[in-house]
Symmetry: C2
Subunit: 371 residues, 2 copies
């Protein structure tokens, strides 16, 4: 053997926008030898996973499972299953991931409209109402926690407006679900997805999704087949439901990890989990401000799980992030798009959201920042 | 905690059509804590993976990487990236997975033709030539090792014919690559994919794919966007190539497992690996015949990695498979489609392809079969 035995030489403290740290209990579960995807033991795992996912999404939706892909597969499934050629989609755009929604929706229909807010600000309900009053849409799509900006998007009013105008509300919660309270049924969300590697602290590769009864009706009423077979929700439901009809080979070990992580969410309790995320975020915000740094998003719109902070005058963005990573094994992320070089993005998600991690980052930043 | 600590209570001997057994070395690698998907350590893993994948596929293709989904994601990517509305696809159908190709191709274009062979027989080159002579096709798609039938499809003549008529040759090697010799470049395959959970003995969830220069040219010449963003090969190549442009969050821990498994393939050597699979299969075939069972596929077309055997007269298909699974913890699979209840399917793939496993299965079958 000419290669090193280790897969990686330097474990990292993951404080970027995901993947987050994975608890040893989840890593151990993932290393359990696989059983078959049609084994009764695996069906039991699927059933327990669905029950715990419904708790996580705070929903009673029948169609609730994980997709065999990353968070972006969740986005693709959420859009492509509900859009047919010529359907109208209204996308609320205030960051990088909403732009991705526009890109994906545009591969299904030519009628993609957008309402925009500047990066760092939420979409205002009036904008959505104005667009729908001008012309209805089949779906209104919006991001709850924008990883690119650190904004937490209020959703209650927008849900009301979408429904008043007959649209389905589709919400991306990749960066927020399990870290910030978002009761899917109570809020009136019709289609909701997240990623495994953020606030759930599972390695990347699975996308939990839930679809409500209004949206299921839209699925059933489709005139054409979904343009993706791999992420066709109706086919996947036949595997997760009582049919147990083979569709794809379930990602067995990833599902082990997901189940163990969901058990940990249930053990902790959703409320305690949200409080832990909020407390870690507050500690970070206070600490960054004490270092003289300026937070990008006003506190009322700030996302607890992903903090954006301005790179201070005189600091070298790339050099400091490189020192953090290579000298201290700490990962944070750079700004995206127009904020490249201007923002740092610090994630406190899932098992990463612990006070000792915040203290570590603040202590190292204090050493690295120009005085 | 109200749940059991263990994810599964009964580990299995996996002798079905996949997933196959996973070596402890691969499970340990997978349990390494994740790093970020833009970490230089992860880029090094991607580079080593690409180099080892090229050895596995026996290719020099630039576009060679793993897709973030199961083998069916490989099939979807292979078809949807090369088909635009109105393009002509010719699908060679002699089993369940080729039918799936027809289904997926039909979501991209209305012009899907097929040539059929009875289950258990390979497609004959003359059939392909006749169809292409009648009208050319952009793609000829075929399955190398049909998991539903246990047939190994000869490809050299069909590759020549496809190219002579200007078509790309797309080959599914989900059940064969790494277990049966298939040199991609030498055979003249333009697009080739496999799954992680078969002869590579990685848990399910990744699909290695390789695309040759002719096919890359077709990608570049597309007039419309690919209808799947998640599996858009051109975008994914920008992440795996020197751009390192973020597309999706790489399934980090699955990639750890893939790399470790590919290192094990390289350590063993392709030739030794093919010989090991052939020897295990021969031992199985001899043993089944010694038990008085009849193999479904004539030896000249038989796939070493997946054996189909007729359920003998007087034996209860479901009861015997249930006893194998629940009393002896051995998984084999039932027949599909028209062969439901008539065939058993026994996989000897990757780490499952060992003489001790064959001996175990034969010993238990001898006890369970009617005398």
């Amino acid at each position: 053997m000419t290669h090193a035995a280790d897969i990686i030489s330097s474990p990292r403290l993951l404080l970027g926008p995901g993947p987050s740290m994975v608890h040893p209990r989840v890593l151990r579960a993932m290393a359990t030898p696989p059983v078959g995807h049609m084994d009764p033991q695996f069906f039991a795992i699927m059933d327990e996973t669905q029950a715990l996912l419904r708790q996580l999404f705070q929903t009673t939706n029948r169609l609730t499972f994980t997709l065999p892909g990353t968070g972006s597969a969740g986005m693709e499934a959420a859009l492509l299953n509900f859009l047919e050629a010529g359907d109208s989609a209204l996308i609320c755009v205030a960051g990088f991931f909403a732009e991705r929604m526009v890109e994906i929706a545009g591969r299904a229909t030519t009628d993609v409209r957008r309402v925009d807010a500047p990066w760092g600000q939420p979409i205002r309900p009036e904008q959505v109402e104005e667009a729908l009053r001008a012309r209805p849409a089949k779906i209104v799509a919006i991001v709850h926690g924008e990883t690119s900006t650190g904004v937490r998007q209020p959703l209650a009013d927008i849900a009301d407006i979408a429904h008043r105008y007959g649209a389905l509300l589709l919400v991306d919660t990749v960066a927020s679900l399990g870290g910030v309270d978002l009761p899917v049924d109570q809020t009136g969300i019709d289609i909701c997805y997240t990623g495994s590697q953020k606030c759930l602290s599972v390695p990347p590769g699975l996308a939990p999704i839930t679809v409500g009864p209004r949206a299921e009706e839209v699925l059933r009423a489709r005139k054409t087949k979904v343009q993706t077979w791999y992420l066709d929700l109706t086919l996947i439901q036949k595997y997760w439901g009582t049919d147990r009809a083979y569709h794809h080979t379930g990602p067995i070990n990833m599902q082990y990890a997901m189940l163990e992580a969901l058990r940990m969410v249930a053990d902790e309790g959703l409320l305690a989990r949200f409080e832990r995320h909020a407390a870690a975020a507050q500690m970070l915000w206070d600490g960054l401000e004490a270092l003289g740094l300026k937070l990008f998003v006003p506190v009322e719109n700030r996302l607890a799980t992903l903090t954006t902070v301005l790179v201070p005058e005189g600091a070298d963005d790339v050099a400091i992030r490189r020192q953090l990573l290579l000298d201290y094994n700490i990962e944070i992320a750079a700004g995206l798009g127009q904020y490249k070089g201007k923002l740092w993005r610090v994630g406190l998600m899932g098992y990463s959201a612990r006070p000792e991690n915040v203290a570590t980052l603040l202590g190292v930043l204090a050493r690295l920042l120009p005085r």
